[in-house]
Amino acid sequence: MEQLLCLEMDTVLRARPDPNLLFDDRVLQSLLTIEERFLPQFSYFKCVQKDIQPFMRRMVATWMLEVCEEQKCEEEVFPLAMNYLDRFLAVVRTRKSNLQLLGAVCMFLASKLKETRPLTAEKLCIYTDNSIKPQELLEWELVVLGKLKWNLAAVTPNDFIEHIMRKLPLPKEKLTLIRKHVQTFIALCATDFNFAMYPPSMIATGSFGAAICGLQLDDVDQALLGDNLTDLLAKIINTEVDCLKECQEQIERVLVSSLREGQQQQQQQQQEQAGPRNKALDELDQSSTPTDVRDINL
């Protein structure tokens, strides 16, 4: 009986992709029109925050990603939570001692918006090593909601994945793998503050560029070859080729440094118990051979 229950708990019923939403270009155009409304207003490290440094954002982001991973959250929960975090930090000066609470609140909200079985306040508090209490999380939920003006349905890079995917001449059998890589790149971007002000569509297309390039799919179709691909991607989201190219290169740079960091951590942690470390490293290692991944960056 208990086993049965456990199995039930892992099953999330999901609707099939809706062709009315995915095959209608108006949806993509609407996403492109509204996406900038949900970007943080300022580069807040310069003009709002005093206590909080960029590396602290990375720390809290890494922790949030690990929690989302461990709890098997939907892919868009983490990028959405980071969007909330950045928008809040752009308007409210925050102490670093409250940053983890803020991260937990943002995951709480994003999970409630996107998941059929959302994260509970209790679980999130445990993940902070009980440094906060559920009651405090709920109180701050209201504060964060107020500062976000209750605008929670922000556009994330993940919203663009299927729209972009169906416009590229990709081999059918690789779609799952490509989607996974793109999602990983998007998550990676969300951990890095340099991408916080980029439009989500730019991050999505940049991630596609990096993923397709990394998976060396360019021998499949001429259209997937370097510049051809960038042109195609830029056309899909009506952006400048140069901006997109710059974005993709930046993503690849972040991947390199993240992999390097992951390797160092791995060496340090070799004696310690194995656990979730760096999502980019773990996932890429699982879904392709490690040599593939390293080839991207050489």
């Binding site: 102490r95 001692s97 983890q100 993940y127 090593d129 500062k147 310690e272 656990g275 979730p276």
Partner: protein, 164 residues
């Protein structure tokens, strides 16, 4: 069954405790300061909202000289959606078959604005603000300003939308 579920939940929660993901990132949290800051932020939000809507939400009274002018509306003319409902009444439990639903017209949707149009045509019926219901029973939802006041007109013609 219920017990099984809760023991499983408990086990999952304890299992979380041992992974490396469970960690405190930035040292101890000052609870008192946290609560203070929370209160301050909420108060600030309330002040901003009061300013924005020319309505003092703390005392639930209209303010003078803002973008809005508020006028009282008699109880029965408040759209059914905005009336306070009571916990435990048949009304709250089965809204589909309730008396207040019947009064709101034939529509099935509860978010359709259904202010009766005669509201505007009979200004002489606008009376004093109804007293707040201080009965012992619990209200199902929090009181809204629209329970008592109706935005009569906008003095300043801005195209600002709520939430911006």
């Amino acid at each position: 069954m219920c017990r099984t579920m809760s023991t499983i939940n408990k086990r999952i929660l304890t299992a979380l405790g041992n992974g490396p993901t469970r960690r405190r990132l930035f040292g101890p949290v000052d609870r008192e300061q946290l609560r203070e800051e929370c209160r301050n932020q909420l108060r600030k939000d309330l002040e901003d909202a009061s300013h924005r809507w020319s309505f003092d939400f703390a005392t639930e009274t209209p303010m003078v000289g803002g973008d809005f002018q508020w006028e009282g509306v008699v109880g029965p003319r408040v759209p059914a959606l905005y009336r306070s409902r009571l916990v435990g009444s048949a009304d709250a439990r089965r809204p589909g078959a309730s008396a207040s639903r019947a009064a709101s017209g034939p529509t099935d949707k509860e978010n359709v604005p259904c202010t009766p149009t005669r509201c505007q045509t009979q200004p002489q019926n606008l009376e004093m603000t109804p007293e707040k219901n201080h009965s012992q029973r619990l209200k199902r939802k929090q009181t809204n300003i629209t329970d008592f006041y109706q935005a009569k007109r906008r003095v300043v013609a801005t195209s600002r939308k709520s939430g911006q």
